[in-house]
Symmetry: C2
Subunit: 337 residues, 2 copies
Amino acid sequence: MPELRKPYLLYLGDSTHPTDAKTACGLRDWCPDDVIGEWSLPQATVSVGLPRLSPADAAARGAGSLVIGIASVGGRVPDSWLPDLDAAIASGLDIVSGMHTRLTSFPSLLAAAQRHGVRLMDVRHSDATFPAGTGNKRTGMRVATVGTDCALGKKYTALSLTNALRARGAKATFRATGQTGIMIAGQGIAIDAVVADFIAGAAELLSPDNAPDHWDVIEGQGSLFHPAYAGVTLGLLHGSQPDCIVLCHDPSRLTIEYRPNHPIPPLADAVAQYLTAARVTNRNVRLAGVSINSSTLSDEEWRTYAECVSTELGVPVCDPMRGGLDAIAASVLGQGH
Amino acid sequence: MPELRKPYLLYLGDSTHPTDAKTACGLRDWCPDDVIGEWSLPQATVSVGLPRLSPADAAARGAGSLVIGIASVGGRVPDSWLPDLDAAIASGLDIVSGMHTRLTSFPSLLAAAQRHGVRLMDVRHSDATFPAGTGNKRTGMRVATVGTDCALGKKYTALSLTNALRARGAKATFRATGQTGIMIAGQGIAIDAVVADFIAGAAELLSPDNAPDHWDVIEGQGSLFHPAYAGVTLGLLHGSQPDCIVLCHDPSRLTIEYRPNHPIPPLADAVAQYLTAARVTNRNVRLAGVSINSSTLSDEEWRTYAECVSTELGVPVCDPMRGGLDAIAASVLGQGH
């Protein structure tokens, strides 16, 4: 996937539900230096608190892309957005979208982009072809976030851990594998959009050879225990060849989300299965920590829970929203906390 | 994937190396009633022993498709084959290919197919879209072949086991997941060509609800221990929800083929990992048998080896080429041998 052009103008369309703006909030929070403003239709009521800039104004201030920062019904670009997207294209901005419907499926946008020499970047999709995985060892160090389920903090943990590693003076790069992560990083591979035969091969390309003391922090996808997505999870894990894994978990979730007949295994089992799987491409892989989404726990419950899990598994247990991931960063680096 | 039109005329191109005709031999051996002849260029020296029929003659005798039955250098259709393919199209035959290069990438073939109302079937590729896996239990019984590596007999075992189950009076259907299997069955899904997110979903469609006493015998792909293809293997396993697995192994192979740094685990470990993975979608999954490619062993070595593995794992150990799979079929059906 070619690199995205930053900085971004965040587009909020006609949104009236603050929860629809998850992508825009993620970009504002995780790459604040890369977002210079927001724009929306007059009927929109949602804002993410950035300066309001028209596409032309944003382009004049150096913006590289308009990023669709909200979810729409059915993942489709509604016709009401097209004039704004046209204006952005006419101002020389690339359009970046993580929606299911491709921007390139709109002939009018495609023609306009062609005319103005800008790119329509559908980061959820992948037209690139990848080689099969080799399994060959690469230089540099890698840590991957893995989960007991989907949607419980693997991206958030990878981003927080990247910052925590840097705060300890380590060289660290966040490697994005999903659409929001790709927008934040400006690059990456939407791993679940790759043809099945090439998952591991694509993951190998995502974290190429690097300096021996450099850490790639790889955003995990899906879960080994998810009946739909475990293939993506395993291929990504194998291609990543992680030296460390960080297990992400939400203790309030007892079964896979939307799959009530599929229980989440005990944490020790989950760790054992992830390590067994990861050893196929890195025999020295170890668990560096557990990252918990503890939003449903009181302070006292959280302290007790974290201590209990930490004693059982012998690694730091942190919540990035509750004290940060420094202890896990220390564990990744093999340093005392 | 729409059903292929049988019977087949097997095409051998300009082949002069008998080993190139693996696909044609597989079709001749596994669906003999569905192949009515072979055809090749004058310079070809390879034959699979079928009556020689021109495309026009084959069409006159009721053939539905010309199947490219040989491998070519680079997986590409050479220009020298095009006149024969054109003649087949003009005779009203579909063309079926398992090659990397798509038939549909030849504008002349595409135009001819359009003109004559026939189909170009690239069974290695998949343009179909699939839903995500649900994990919901389906009616009917399923057995999946799984392997310690690629290319050691998972298709052969699934086909043999289908016959062995039928010989015991059971209802059984072979479910194809790779190009040769699809040609043999006339239908199936090239699972490694599916977009990663939908591997399990495609596998769910491959073996739909069926009669309670019906067995789907699902052709496995790749291996959990292969650094490139394990994601395909796991997604296929999860979507298949097998009640039984049959492990396929070649004792002469100590490391993954072409990946000398990737050891094949001990059989007991391999079985444990496959069963753990399969339990995500079927808690009652069990090992029904081990299918061995024993071509490198003497009769005495084979007897000793089979007894040793059978004692260790507590299931029948067979070689489909050396006595057949009846003992494994009995184990699948829960019958005494």
